[in-house]
């Protein structure tokens, strides 16, 4: 296989993986916000990102 093919196949797989991953992750988020209520979910998400940043 030539270099273009290797890069191309890698890019296709990466793009597809990211696409499917983001959709599934987003789906979980919608459910989580739905369960917690938007305000509390947002507060928790903000807290979580702050904790992660502080680490």
């Amino acid at each position: 296989m030539d270099t273009n093919t290797v890069i191309g196949v890698f890019l296709i797989l990466a793009a597809l993986g990211l696409l499917v991953g983001l959709i599934l992750f987003s789906r979980r988020r919608i459910h989580r916000i739905d369960r917690l209520g938007p305000q509390s979910a947002r507060m928790l998400l903000c807290k979580l990102s702050r904790i992660r940043r502080s680490r």
């Binding site: 597809l16 988020r29 938007p38």
Partner: protein, 766 residues
């Protein structure tokens, strides 16, 4: 007696996740993919084609996440136009609306070109176009303009397909596209050496050229943004809309890749039709720069049928997308006129058709100009570039709105790693827009000129004239019209009365009153105000006058006597709106009037009544010419068994004069279907609220059942009929007896259909 409520208006929500996802898919799977495959393959080769779809899917997903987040926080009709208004104010919202107008109209023009190219190309291949006194190209232009004119007229008539019907249409399209993908993949497994068709990966193109190809084919991913406009009509929009947007982008990307794969492996490299060209090059050279490449490859993949199937698929998908884009463009320019950003003329509604005809006329001019002057590649590139600019703006909006107002909004979906994805989308879309310049400079000239004109229009016209709209003042919370006071859920039996116009509302309610008394039921009056699909439901106030008048008429009569609740709903389709209201309120019975005129062919009782009778999950009673407070002394109930007959007997008992009313249970003797009317009446005796001596059973004679019943009905004050119990299939081939009698009889009529409880999913869906 509980206090009476005033009339309140609310929106009819009857679209679920499936419907809105299909709506997005229907807009996306237009002709873009069919034409784009050939165009791209010619410039970036077979592997580059697959990569184009994968990367475009990802870029589209980044923008889709922004749309999903904004639509979940502001689930109101308007989409990008509304988001820009909240994020950046009027000037940005004008430019968003202005760009969306051209984007949708250009896509419409592009679909018209593709439709004509594929249809006439197919006829030409069959040798049917030899008689033409002009070149094929000229004929294609004329055909494209004719198709665009036809759909402009369809939009003027206001019969644009939406919601559930559109969803079914899209399922059909999807089945075809997936079918091609499956055939291609099976072929590959049967003959794996076809993988060699993917060499060289980028054809004769380069990585830079890939950007241009991605830009041109981006039009195939445009369409998910219409989902953001359905906020007013979707059930649980905060959760449903973001899901539908993300799912539709995911599904469409995987489908496109599978179809592209199938196209590449459709032919072996040694196929005689290739004339020693590599497969990708041959596909990329069919039609105008490869625009017919997909069709040609599938024609050879499925010999005999392929060409026809592809042409049919393109016709179906391009017509549906052409219709949808004209509708979308009209709706946008109407909104600009409504908010006085364009002259008020744009918001004029046709008195006869109730559609925004001036907005449609101007949209038509743009669609026709594009169909007449541009080739498919330029058309696709123009639409793509406008959508890229629009998405660019929405990605900026999502950042600004989250930063400035995030705490005030109630999000149903919050994108991860904010603001990474909107920023990535902005950068990647800028690259794609730049790439389009390599493929079609003309598209950039048109898009640039359009935006520049828009800026001038805003600067010298709209800025001083734009009015403050409800959206500017009231953007954060959707109106919830919950009834105050009495809650009907506590009652045992709920009757819903669908009122259509002020003329017969009172008669309807006077009869309903007797049924309500007998059933000890609570009553809800409902009026459905159908709003043409080009007008957002939020602007539907003007369509509610007749409904309000009808409600007031009935309330004047009923209010002193009886507790009732009134609801006025806007809807796209009265039948669907009524059925969804019945379901929502869990009504036990639906009562409605029927004009009694013979329906158009294809319907039993009428285009609105038939779907309600078929799908409402409760008893349905229809009244025709029943007058007001009339007392019925002689009631005829023709019977042939079944639950509908039993309900008819019960209704006859309720409507009969309590002092002197008599019921005649009647059947016509038939050797094929023997029926014991006396046994049937005895079996349901406890449901009839009349003494034994006032119920008579009679068996008539005669070959013609319909004529015998009609003749008998002339001697009675009222005819109470049970609806047919025939299957849907049988109803398509034979007009059932009760419905035929209903159409022909001159006696006042009550028609009953009992809820059967078990209904198939398909029946309920349809």
């Amino acid at each position: 007696m509980p206090e009476q409520k005033s009339i309140h208006a609310e929106l009819s929500r009857d679209l679920n996740l499936f419907h809105v996802t299909m709506m997005g898919l229907g807009m996306m799977i237009g002709a873009g993919v069919f034409v784009g495959i050939g165009l791209c393959m010619g410039s970036v080769g077979p592997g580059g084609l697959l990569l184009c779809f994968a990367l475009n899917g990802l870029v589209a997903l980044f923008s889709a996440m922004s749309f999903a987040e904004l639509a979940s926080a502001i689930p109101r009709a308007g989409g990008a136009y509304n988001f820009a208004r909240i994020g950046f104010g009027r000037s940005a919202s004008f430019i968003a609306g202005w760009m969306e107008w051209l984007a949708a109209a250009a896509a419409g023009g592009f679909y018209a070109i593709v439709l004509s190219e594929y249809t006439l190309g197919f006829f030409d291949a069959l040798g049917w176009m030899n008689w033409l006194p002009m070149s094929l190209d000229a004929a294609q232009r004329i055909f494209g303009v004719a198709a665009a004119l036809l759909f402009l007229y369809v939009n003027y008539r206001g019969s644009s397909e939406t919601g559930k019907v559109g969803a079914l249409f899209t399922v059909g399209q999807m089945l075809f596209v997936v079918g091609i993908a499956v055939v291609g993949i099976v072929m590959f497994f049967v003959d794996p050496v076809r993988i060699q068709n993917f060499q060289p990966f980028l054809g004769e193109g380069s990585w830079w050229k890939l950007l241009g190809a991605m830009g041109v084919i981006y039009v195939a991913f445009e369409g998910f943004e219409v989902i953001a406009q359905t906020g007013d009509e979707t059930i649980n929009p905060k959760k449903t809309i973001p899901k539908a947007i993300l799912y539709s982008v995911g599904i469409v990307t995987l489908t496109y890749m599978a179809v592209a794969f199938a196209t590449v492996v459709a032919m072996r490299w040694d196929h005689p039709a290739l004339e020693n060209l590599p497969v990708w090059k041959w596909i990329g050279s069919r039609g105008d720069e490869g625009s017919m490449g997909f069709g040609s490859a599938i024609h050879h993949m499925i010999p005999g049928l392929g060409g026809l199937l592809v042409t049919l698929a393109v016709i179906f998908s391009a017509t549906s997308a052409l219709n949808a884009t004209i509708y979308s463009a009209t709706r946008t320019s109407y909104a600009l006129g409504r908010d006085r950003m364009l002259p008020a003329l744009f918001a004029s509604i046709s008195r006869r058709r109730r559609t925004p005809y001036v907005a449609l006329l101007f949209t038509g001019v743009i669609v026709l100009t594009i169909a007449l002057t541009l080739d498919p590649k330029q058309g696709a590139a123009t639409a793509s570039i406008m959508f890229l600019m629009l998405f660019f703006l929405v990605n900026l909006c999502v950042i600004r709105i989250r930063r400035n107002m995030g705490d005030e909004l109630e999000y149903g979906y919050i994108m991860p790693l904010f603001p990474l994805f909107p920023v990535l989308a902005i950068i990647l879309q800028a690259f794609l827009a730049g790439g389009i310049m390599l493929e079609s400079f003309m598209a950039w000239v048109i898009a640039g000129g359009w935006v520049f004109t828009g800026v001038l229009v805003y600067r010298f016209y709209s800025r001083t004239r734009a009015i403050t709209t409800a959206d500017e003042i009231h953007v954060f919370h959707e109106d919830e019209h919950k009834p105050e006071g009495e809650i009907l859920e506590a009652e045992d039996y709920r009757i819903m009365v669908a009122i259509a116009n002020p003329d017969n509302a009172l008669q309807l309610v006077q009869n309903t009153y007797k049924i309500c008394q007998a059933k000890r039921a609570s009553v809800e009056l409902i009026h459905m105000a159908p709003v043409p699909s080009q007008v957002p439901l939020a602007d539907a106030e003007q369509y509610t006058f007749a409904g309000k008048e009808a409600m007031l008429e009935t309330m004047l009569y009923l209010a002193p006597q009886y507790p009732l609740r009134t609801t006025l709903r806007y809807c796209r389709n009265a039948a669907r709106g009524i059925v969804s209201a019945v379901r929502e309120r869990r009504a036990n019975m639906l009562i409605m009037g029927w004009h009694g005129r013979r329906p158009r062919s294809g319907f039993l009782l009428g285009s609105t009544v038939d779907p309600i009778v078929e799908t409402a999950p409760c008893d349905v009673i229809m009244l025709k010419d029943c007058g007001g407070n009339q007392s019925y002394k002689h009631i005829l109930v023709p019977l042939a068994g079944g639950p509908n007959g039993a309900l008819a007997l019960e209704m006859a008992g309720i409507l009969a004069d309590p002092e002197e009313g008599e019921i005649t249970a009647y059947t016509v003797a038939s050797p094929r279907r023997p029926f014991d009317v006396e046994a049937f009446v005895a079996q349901h005796r406890q449901r009839i609220a009349l003494p034994e001596e006032r119920i008579h059973c009679e068996v008539g004679q005669g070959k013609d059942v319909i004529r015998a019943i009609l003749h008998k009905s002339e001697q009675h004050d009222l005819l109470v009929l049970g609806g047919t119990g025939d299957s849907a299939l049988r109803k398509m081939t034979h007009t059932p007896i009760p419905e035929t009698i209903a159409c022909r009889c001159n006696t006042p009529l009550v028609m009953c259909r009992a809820a059967t409880g078990l209904r198939s999913w398909l029946k309920r869906y349809l």
